[in-house]
Amino acid sequence: MKGKVIKYEQDNIDTDVILPGPYLKLHEHSELAEHAMEGMDPDFHSKAKNANIIVTGKNFGCGSSREHAPIALSASGIKAVLALSFARIFYRNSVDGAYLLPIEIDEKTYSSISENDELEIDTSKNEIKNITKNELYSMKPFPELIGKIISAGGIFKYKP
């Protein structure tokens, strides 16, 4: 996949700011998209018109187990989140629900990528190409089962 970057240079972005509590009653994906990142970035939707990759720091998606968080991002057009680390439930939800790719990157890659950079991600080679800067980074490979669930298109399509 290929796309431009929205960069949030901070750690511990929690699911309450990704999709605030009052909207937990909503379950239509398009309605959830309207409120994505409402707790921290009022410009998210204008940015997401041209970008589909979020790059961020440690422990992305911490807090509540609300699957509404990856759904809201995915329904806003986000295809991948590149983070130094993920909170476990957000990671699991993203994979098992097949909403977006949660990709772990190292500090050097994190600091190299800038807002609006265009990236090309090749999960089969565990490579991230920065087209804008003409740089090549490696991503942390998905664990075996995670890779298989992603390839299948989510936990319900995966055959153990």
Binding site: G39, A87, I89, R92
Partner: protein, 423 residues
Amino acid sequence: MNITEKILARASGKDKLEPDEVIFANVDKIMLHDVSGPGVIKTFEKLEKDGVIKVDKLFDPSMIWVTEDHFVPSVDKISAENIVKLSNFTNKFGIKKHFKYGMGQYGICHTMSHEEGLVSPGELYVGGDSHTNTTGALGAFACGLGHTDVAYAMLYGKLWFKVPETLYFKIHGKLPENVMAKDLILRIIGDITTEGAAGKAMQFGGDGISDMSVESRLTLTNMTTEAGAKNGIIEPDQKVFDYISERGVTKYDAVYDDEDAQYEKTFEYEASELEPVVAKPFSPQNVSVVRETGSIDIDKSYIGSCTGAKYEDLLAAAKILKGRKVKVRTEVLPATISIYKKATENGLTQIFIDAGAVVGPPTCGACCGAQMGVLAKDEVCVSTTNRNFPGRMGHLESKAYLASPLVAAASAVTGKLTDPRDL
């Protein structure tokens, strides 16, 4: 193996497990509520629409229970319709344990799990809510998930898990008067940070834990979620067996650490050295001793949630509020009807009302900023809940200080953040 590894080994039919192994394990109990429940319904609808699978029956409806807690009382048409959908769903699939708002016992899912004896020692329990970790204080593997995973477990009775490393927290001695389990777990989160236990098990033990009531232990495991833990767990003892037997559970298969159980790391705490603390905005790791936090004027005191509205929590708040008056808006919401009833029978409700507080129905509402008492811009709240992220309890520019019920009640009386020892 330690208790977490042994439960996962039993549930996956293995003799031995090591941390980081990925397994499919059989699930014993499943919980969903009025947020994750409609998510499960939507997942099943989508699977059918996409031609993946048509769900006609569940693996075993008797292992599932359903609560109504986040949006009760219904806040608007959408949340009211979610409750109707949930009832239609439980009727259709024969889920008998559906605890409905306004129909006898109901309440916050995690508190229901132990108040109603829904999970037993040694079981593998998953729930569609992050604080499912709470129930690990009964000696179960208890782990929170999103609604897709819950739907999968409901359909197939099993789920994948990565065996976690275990962090062991050995607690020595007794908590001093005016210091509660909430102070201990906040101190631990302050020390290890909100990602200090990411994906790991947090196990508590030592004579300090043996000395603690079951409800206090539940406060510890509840907030393991805030440290990023996969599960929180405590080896069961006679106190747990008595607690669940009072709730009608007499058959169980308790699991304990082997003598050569391994932990990734052990942390030791001297309970007697602890003081009342708060987590300042905007993170549960922002921990500060109350007496060193400075003068903080507050607008509200909130005593509620799965973390801080068990019977023991209400008793602690009542001890402070008895014969006193609140200076700020104070809301007390017992976590379940059974706790509400006990509080009323024992005069606590009267104490709260006499002090000027309002006593409301069990709900997660204000804790997650959804309804029933959200904060206005710039308002400051001392709260017995578990999270204080930006906007968590209302407006993005409101502030929540997480504290024990004693600190919340003492602060209600003075209108400022207050150490109960200074009243």
